[in-house]
């Protein structure tokens, strides 16, 4: 397994983003176990410390918990929490930036939505 890591942010943060993405998509449900640090390190050819760091941030954000002797498990309500924070981020940063871009291109937001509704049944 080789992932394409970009050079914009530290690897551990990108790895964390990957796990978050899986949680949002539903690939990781509440109560699911995360693959072991060792396994992820081996599969992605990363140092175990990097993987541990990513996992630790997930723990700090109360998205996963460490169960002694068993591993990392996704917490109940993690997805909801993530959705909430992602939505908030979208509204705060991405949506305004998107609106600005639409305006800059000279497009009309409502027009776009109508076209979109028309195109998809």
């Amino acid at each position: 397994m080789s992932a394409d890591w970009n050079d914009n942010s530290p690897i551990y943060r990108q790895l964390k983003a990957k796990v978050v993405g899986m949680m949002l998509d539903g690939a990781l449900q509440s109560g699911d176990a995360l693959p072991s640090v060792r396994q992820v390190a081996a599969d992605y050819q990363l140092n175990p410390i990097t993987v541990s760091r990513a996992y630790q941030e997930l723990v700090d954000e109360a998205l996963v918990e460490k169960r002694r002797g068993l591993g990392m498990y996704v917490l109940q309500g993690a997805r909801d929490k993530l959705l909430a924070s992602e939505r908030e981020r979208f509204m705060r940063e991405e949506w305004p930036a998107m609106l600005e871009r639409i305006t800059r291109l000279g497009l009309d937001v409502e027009q776009l939505l109508l076209v979109h509704k028309g195109a998809t049944p």
Binding site: P10, Q45, L46, N47
Partner: protein, 291 residues
């Protein structure tokens, strides 16, 4: 760094010196390697990295102080070899050796060898017990060597260009096996390699060496925080240069500058920020050391 050897380190060196004729292979080298780390010792040919490894393994004499797992490799080499294992270059197993005999021999002489483990690894390969090394491809020889090494519960593993000349499949498998089955917080690994990209994300610590001197020694975290690459727009060139980049190169007509220890916020106004790849960092540091 204190003058004294660090007892807590797996490897502690102070003032290592070694001359080959007029050439100084090691020039007052000092460093520490903490336990549980994967350290990359990276340098051009003739930089002294092989000599450093040889000193650590007691294969060469030197001046200065060196402690490996609490022992001086010059004096206590035989005891040291029970806790240290190394793969020096690929494919150095003798051609006449059979797979089964190799396992028997290591089991017979190494107190920390787990025969069952070695046989498990071998079962996953295409190696049969009666095969001789001379009938094997380079990749298969490495598989055998690795199977033996991974079954040894050594505290320190030294790898000198372990994947040189191997095709990509064996190379990936090599590191996968190492990370999946061998490495844990009680073990330390020191790797030298030319394939920087391959080990870039596996390393926890970095040491650049040139002309027998350490040019950079840091953890990968520190490296990530210290070194920042900026894609500078033409308007910002002068402002950027005023901050004294350690390297400047051109990519698609744009100027890419590498800064060491400059404030992130200051650089953000000059352009896009990136983490430099280890290879670019290496080239930049080596060029710098040359001047």
């Amino acid at each position: 760094m204190s003058e004294q050897l660090d007892k807590a380190s797996v490897i502690s060196a102070r003032g290592l010196c070694k001359q080959y004729g007029k050439q100084a292979a090691l020039d007052n080298l000092s460093f520490d390697i903490a336990p549980g780390r994967i350290v990359g010792l990276i340098g051009p040919n003739g930089s002294g990295k092989t000599t450093t490894l040889k000193a650590i393994l007691g294969l060469t004499g030197f001046e200065g102080e060196l402690s490996v797992l609490g022992r001086d490799p010059r004096l206590a080499r035989d005891a040291l070899m029970e806790d240290v294992c190394f793969i020096a270059d690929v494919a150095i197993l003798p051609g006449w050796l059979r797979v089964a005999d190799a396992v028997d021999f290591v089991a017979g002489v190494h107190p920390r060898f787990d025969r069952a483990k070695a046989e498990r690894y071998l079962a996953l390969t295409k190696l049969s017990p009666k095969m001789k090394v001379k009938a094997m491809s380079k990749g298969m020889v490495v598989q055998l060597h690795l199977a033996l090494v991974m079954a040894i519960d050594a505290k320190l593993l030294v790898l000198d260009e372990p994947t040189l000349g191997l095709d990509i499949l064996y190379r990936k498998q090599f590191y996968q096996n190492l990370l999946e089955d061998y490495f844990d917080e009680n073990k330390t690994i020191v790797i030298t390699t030319h394939q920087i990209e391959e080990v870039e994300h596996i390393l926890s610590d970095l040491m650049f060496i040139r002309d027998g001197k350490i040019v950079l020694a840091a953890t990968m975290e520190e490296v990530g925080e210290r070194y920042i690459e900026v894609m500078v727009g033409p308007q910002q060139l002068n402002a950027a240069r005023a901050l004294q980049p350690i390297n400047e190169r051109s990519v698609f007509g744009k100027s890419v500058m590498l800064f060491d220890g400059v404030n992130r916020a200051q650089l953000a106004v000059l352009g896009e920020l990136h983490t430099p790849s280890l290879a670019d960092l290496f080239v930049a540091t080596m060029k710098g050391a040359q001047q």
